[in-house]
């Protein structure tokens, strides 16, 4: 199987979200995803990075998002987003319910997460600990998004 891995690091800022989603979209295009799938992948990455900016880093200006893309020819795309912001537990966010949207007002919680989960075939959130060579521990969040061809 032909596998290609590419990565990009962006500042965790709202005006960088299109850079992240455009980067992943280009790789997905080369894999041969349909126009509809490309739109879904682009939107999922955009929403995932927006959540990191808004929630993990709470709009702090010095955060970064590491984006790793594994393109498995003829099979799938695996997108991994890593940040070192606050731990994120999707279970703490009220689930968006499209059947109850008429009751919602201007604040619609969980919409971004709902889109991510609907757009991708597999979504995994992890909050991890790592040890570096100096013996220091660091915590990071890892979000994995998978879309099958």
């Amino acid at each position: 199987m032909d596998v290609r891995e590419t990565s990009l690091t962006i500042p965790a800022q709202i005006d960088q979200l299109n850079v992240a989603s455009g980067f992943v979209r280009k790789i997905a295009e080369e894999l041969g995803f349909s126009a509809s799938d490309l739109h879904q992948i682009e939107l999922a990455v955009y929403e995932a990075c927006a959540n990191i900016v808004q929630h993990a880093y709470a709009h702090q200006l010095n955060g970064q998002i590491h984006i790793m893309v594994r393109a498995e020819q003829g099979r799938r795309i695996v997108i991994t987003l890593i940040d070192t912001g606050a731990a994120f537990d999707p279970r703490t966010i009220p689930a968006y319910d499209p059947q109850r949207v008429t009751e919602a007002d201007t604040q619609v919680s969980g919409l971004g997460l709902f889109l991510i989960q609907r757009m991708m075939d597999d979504v995994c959130f992890e909050s991890c600990m790592s040890d570096n060579q100096a013996g220091q521990s660091g915590r990071f969040n890892r979000l994995t998004l998978i879309k099958n061809l």
Binding site: I14, D105, V108
Partner: protein, 124 residues
């Protein structure tokens, strides 16, 4: 890739209907433009606000929130927000999040305008 959005406002019929033509990408970087256009339209007292999304290529959750807020604020003022001319990718998103059940959505500008001029046909 950069965000770019343009909105053209056109007053129609007997000045009770306004058409907002939205083109480009509606995301966190551009959403304030639509927010402002919707606010202006509501303050101007239009009975119906028709949003033509024919040239909208992308919508994020920020854009969806502003559409919903615009619809809810309009209802409080007794007016209606309609959508028309959706591209397939945008329509797919609106259906997924349940907006197709709460917004009057029309295939073309002409159909939306015809409904806008018939008040009883577009209550949601």
């Amino acid at each position: 890739m950069t965000s770019s959005l343009s909105i053209t406002s056109q007053s129609l019929a007997d000045q009770s209907v306004v058409m907002l033509s939205v083109a480009g990408r509606l995301d966190a970087n551009t959403v304030s433009q639509l927010e402002r256009a919707l606010m202006d339209a509501q303050l101007s007292g239009y009975r119906v606000i028709v949003i033509d999304l024919g040239e909208l290529t992308y919508i994020s959750s920020s854009g969806l929130r502003v559409l919903l807020a615009g619809r809810n604020n309009a209802r409080k003022r007794g007016s209606t927000v309609m959508l028309c001319n959706l591209q397939p990718a945008v329509q797919e998103i609106l259906e997924m999040v349940g907006f197709s059940a709460i917004f009057p959505i029309f295939a073309s500008r002409e159909q939306a305008l015809a409904a806008a001029l018939t008040p009883s046909d577009h209550e949601h």
